[in-house]
């Protein structure tokens, strides 16, 4: 027998309690791990070429007032601009159903450029979508869900539009991304909405990362003092700006993490206190046999640490599985969800596990080592 053998034997003296404690610790640590990873993701979302090179030009004063269509040519002439297109987010209900479909309306070439590398589309379907003004591109999952086939007419309505779009399915994309997204021609929308001289916003694709970095200021300077001033930012900045408005969400995440931490501490402290208290006389026997108080405290710390580390390992394993499962998902089809536990995050989770283990055991272990042996031997817990 070794001391580690003794620790394992002690851990399994009340198997149900150990399993339940480890389980509740694992659930709490799982939540903590997810919250911490999500918090870190919200603080610094993943950067891709699309989020770096794509810029969004919006009205500075109010997003409800569209930009003039004349801006399109002026933006296109600026140095470093590869492509530019009016841009509108759309959401409408399919046919007679109340299912909302969401996507973008832009020039088809810009849309396909935006998702190049993410969407796989057969070349003939790509051409068919570009060629037809009422053309619609949808994700594979959405098409399969409704049993849509190429050439089908897909009606899309929204009470605010006062018109039902009659779209024709011309392309179905596949990819390791959200496959429930739709794309339509902005030209078609502007015609049915009778808005031939305005665009909601503009999507600009820069020639390079360097060009994108400078382009935002250039565009805004170009329209400075115009009746409609612009506010331009890269998709990454847009994402950060959007997430910045979620400041309270991050704070809530931190608060919940703190509450979860406290719960973990209570669960483990309660278990260790019960376990130590009911073994008071056994620790006295160990001291009679020659174990020093430090050695007994070490055994107790090891028991608590084992529970904490096993619970944390289970929590991390499940959290990693979850992160893997959602890693292909992209918000709005372009902003990747890449929540993962990096080394600092993992270090924080481990530090929490260690601290929880230490603080849950310190007081009861100290108290039991202070009880006089003669009194402790007779203790009935």
């Amino acid at each position: 027998m070794t001391r580690s053998h003794l620790i394992v034997k002690n851990l399994f003296r009340n198997r149900r309690r150990t399993i339940l404690t480890t389980g509740s610790l694992a659930v709490s640590m799982f939540l903590f791990t997810v919250f911490i990873a999500t918090y870190r993701y919200l603080s610094a979302p993943t950067e891709t070429e699309a989020t770096r090179r794509t810029l969004l030009v919006m009205p500075r004063a109010s997003t409800s007032v569209p930009l003039p269509l004349s801006y399109r040519q002026r933006i296109a002439r600026l140095k470093g601009v590869a492509m530019v297109s009016p841009f509108v987010t759309i959401d409408g209900m399919y046919g007679g159903t109340d299912e909302w479909l969401a996507g973008f309306a832009t020039d088809p070439e810009v849309l396909l450029k935006l998702y190049s590398g993410l969407w796989r589309i057969p070349p003939d379907q790509r051409q068919a979508f570009i060629a037809e003004k009422t053309g619609l591109i949808v994700g594979r999952k959405l098409a399969e869900k409704h049993g849509w086939k190429l050439g089908d007419h897909i009606p899309l309505r929204n009470e605010g539009w006062h018109v039902t779009l009659d779209l024709v399915l011309r392309a179905i994309y596949t990819g390791e991304v959200d496959e429930t997204f739709i794309g339509v021609h902005w030209q078609y929308l502007s015609e049915v909405w009778h808005q031939s001289d305005v665009a909601g916003a503009y999507l600009v694709i820069a020639e390079s990362d360097q060009a994108a970095a400078a382009l935002g200021k250039t565009i805004d300077d170009t329209f400075h003092n115009e009746p409609m001033e612009t506010r331009t930012m890269t998709m990454l900045q847009f994402a950060l700006d959007f997430l910045g408005r979620l400041g309270n969400v991050k704070r809530i995440l931190l608060m919940i993490s703190g509450a979860v931490l406290f719960a973990i501490l209570l669960v483990l402290a309660n278990t260790m206190a019960m376990s130590i208290r009911e073994r008071t006389s056994e620790f006295a026997i160990l001291r009679v046999l020659g174990f020093r108080t430090g050695q007994i405290q070490g055994i107790l710390a090891a028991e608590s640490l084992t529970i904490a580390l096993v619970g944390t390992a289970l929590a991390c394993a499940v959290a990693f599985g979850l992160f893997r499962l959602i890693s292909g998902y992209r918000v709005g089809g372009w902003m990747p969800i890449d929540i993962h536990l990096d080394l600092p995050g993992l270090g924080l989770v481990l530090a929490v596990a260690l601290a929880t283990s230490f603080f849950s055991t310190f007081v009861p272990a100290y108290r039991v080592s202070r009880v006089k042996i003669a009194d402790a031997v007779r203790f009935v817990g």
Partner: protein, 228 residues
């Protein structure tokens, strides 16, 4: 010439209970030579267990001189006392006090985990101790699978496995039936007679006392003169 194992002079122990002071031992003088089997008798509350605990370094005297195996036990730190007990003292309790999650073998092996013995040497010691108490066929049994008498024999094996000079037994037959008690007392007698262990046993039982070589009576914390 016999070596002095325990030498006590003017030893007293006062327990403080809230605002009350209780004198558990008063001005005790006692000398115990190597190889003796001392039986401490007396009514409940007379201070027998307190004296035993003080000699074993489990409790500390309020005043007086105490030397055990030539060491001033009362002045030792808690950690040094623990190591000293591991090397020199074996302790048997009335209620056996085995660790329930460990087998008989593992319970006996516990004190050896603090030594530098190899696993093979530890096994040799444990099996020898269990054989001596007649439980070599119960090594894989847990305490709950043993009778009271067998549990106490495992406790004795645990107490002697480090080959201590001094063996302390606090009412070792108090929780046993007559037959089991006799078996336990026979083992203690054999340890004293054949292995020259110095034993101090606390008991109420006059039959148990007959196994000792010296019997001393305690009454109201005072050690009565020899033969009283």
């Amino acid at each position: 010439m016999a070596e002095t194992v325990v030498q006590i002079q003017g030893l007293s122990k006062i327990f403080q209970r809230d605002s009350f002071s209780v004198a558990a031992l008063e001005d005790i003088d006692l000398t115990l030579e190597s190889g003796e089997f001392l039986c401490l008798m007396g009514p409940s509350g007379s201070g027998k267990t307190t004296l035993l605990n003080i000699i074993a370094g489990i409790d500390r005297p309020t005043k007086g001189q105490l030397r055990v195996l030539g060491e001033d036990v009362a002045q030792m730190s808690e950690d040094r006392l623990a190591t000293w007990r591991n090397v020199h003292v074996g302790f048997v309790f009335q209620t056996f006090n085995l660790i329930p999650v460990l087998t008989a073998y593992e319970n006996v092996e516990l004190p050896l985990l603090l030594t530098k013995l190899s696993s093979g040497a530890r096994q040799e010691h444990v099996l020898a101790a269990l054989k001596l108490v007649g439980l070599e066929d119960r090594i894989h049994h847990y305490p709950r699978q043993l009778s009271g008498g067998q549990e106490q024999r495992v406790a004795i094996a645990r107490a002697i496995v480090t080959d201590p000079t001094l063996l302390m037994a606090d009412e070792p037959t108090g929780d046993l039936d007559a037959h089991s008690a006799e078996e336990v007392l026979d083992i203690l007698t054999r340890l004293n007679r054949d292995f020259k262990k110095t034993i101090i046993m606390v008991t109420h039982d006059p039959r148990a006392a007959r196994h000792a070589t010296v019997t001393r009576q305690l009454e109201k914390g005072q050690l009565l003169p020899l033969g009283a």
